[in-house]
């Protein structure tokens, strides 16, 4: 399950932040997932929650923002949303690399990354009491 590796990387980054900022308590973390990464939101949330239970960031909430894929075609210079394939049985229609305009092979220009967008925290009144 690749979501586990991704969640581990995320938690590592947050623990690093928490350690460097003992006066801040992380309450929410926003992550953007590109459509072409094939990372599943639910699985990622599940992994995140299972990993953090015993950690200083326990109780923080993961909010996921899906990022639509975009493609560009070298054959007809189309650029924009991908064509979706209805044939998939695995779930909703799948973004493909078939150019929506001319049907030839397009390349990905957006939606290939998975990144932390922001960390929401509350300032602790008294860091020593909270910890």
């Amino acid at each position: 399950m690749h979501e586990f590796s991704i969640a581990s990387g995320l938690v590592e980054k947050l623990l690093d932040f928490a350690e460097k900022n003992p006066d801040k308590k992380i309450v929410e973390i926003r992550v953007a997932i590109g459509e072409f990464t094939q990372i599943e939101e639910e699985q990622l949330s599940f992994c995140y929650e299972s990993i953090i239970t015993e950690m200083p960031i326990a109780g923080s909430r993961l909010t996921i923002e899906p990022i639509l894929g975009q493609v560009a075609c070298p054959h007809c210079s189309y650029s924009g949303l991908p064509k979706y394939w209805e044939g998939a049985l695995s779930g909703p229609p799948v973004a493909t690399l078939e150019c929506p305009a001319c049907g030839k092979a397009a390349g990905i220009i957006a939606g290939e990354d998975c990144s932390i967008k922001s960390i929401r925290y509350v300032q602790r009144e008294n860091a020593s009491v909270d910890r």
């Binding site: 695995s90 990144s115 932390i116």
Partner: protein, 230 residues
């Protein structure tokens, strides 16, 4: 628990006490960077690495063994095996007398660039021209973890049924070659190879699809040609 108390306080905090830090930190970048390093090392040594993905039992090990058989007298070939489901896998390839590196993954999910990088340090790169990397038999962990290979091959087999591409469409987008293996069993399985090819092409029109039977030797020359053209 002290921790639970702390969380309670948080939720009741008034909105003006909540702050956001904007940042842009890619969670895929660390692996991607290592993949680029692997690739640079391979390029420097004039080596083409090819990564094979696909379900357990689709024929990855068999195909790699056949490819090694055909190529090892022409130039130096090595195999990285991340999918040692049985020791038969390694044994079959080891019989070919080429360097074989076993890579054990921690979570049994996928190979990553770090593991492949470690493998590259363990073999003599000088006289090699090709490295075949057998990824873990897994259909759901694909493109996010590039290894540094020049091309990715997906091996599917007709024994996975007629809907295999439709059930696992994601695997194909990041690959350059698809091998549809075990076509000697297509009739018995009542699977249309043409339909599988059409399905793959709806996802990625320019992907090379080669039907094979490793058992009978069908299509293997075409696979060799496709890999040499990469």
């Amino acid at each position: 628990m002290a921790n639970e108390g702390a969380v309670q306080v948080m939720l009741e905090a008034s909105p003006d006490e909540i702050y956001d830090i904007e940042l842009e930190h890619s969670l895929l970048e660390a692996n991607a960077k290592l993949a680029v390093e692997n690739r640079a090392l391979l390029d420097k040594n004039g080596i083409t690495a090819i990564d094979f993905m696909g379900a357990i039992g689709s024929g990855k090990t068999t195909l790699i063994t056949k490819l090694v058989e055909r190529l090892k007298d022409k130039f130096g070939v090595a195999v990285f095996n991340g999918d040692a489901t049985t020791s038969n896998d390694a044994d079959a390839i080891a019989k070919q007398n080429v360097p074989v590196v076993q890579i054990a993954t921690i979570n049994g999910c996928h190979l990553d660039a770090n593991l492949v990088g470690k493998g590259l340090k363990r073999i003599e790169l000088e006289n090699l021209k090709m490295i075949f990397i057998e990824n873990i038999g897994n259909l759901i962990c694909p493109a996010e973890f590039p290894l540094g290979s020049k091309a990715r091959v997906v091996v599917v087999s007709v024994t996975e049924g007629p809907w295999m591409v439709r059930k696992h469409p994601h695997m194909f987008l990041g690959s350059q070659v698809v091998v549809i293996n075990k076509i000697d069993l297509a009739e018995a399985m009542e699977v249309s190879v043409d339909q599988l090819i059409a399905d793959v092409h709806s996802l990625k029109p320019d992907i090379k699809v080669i039907p094979t039977s490793c058992k009978r030797g069908t299509g293997l020359d075409e696979v060799v040609d496709a890999l040499l053209a990469i």
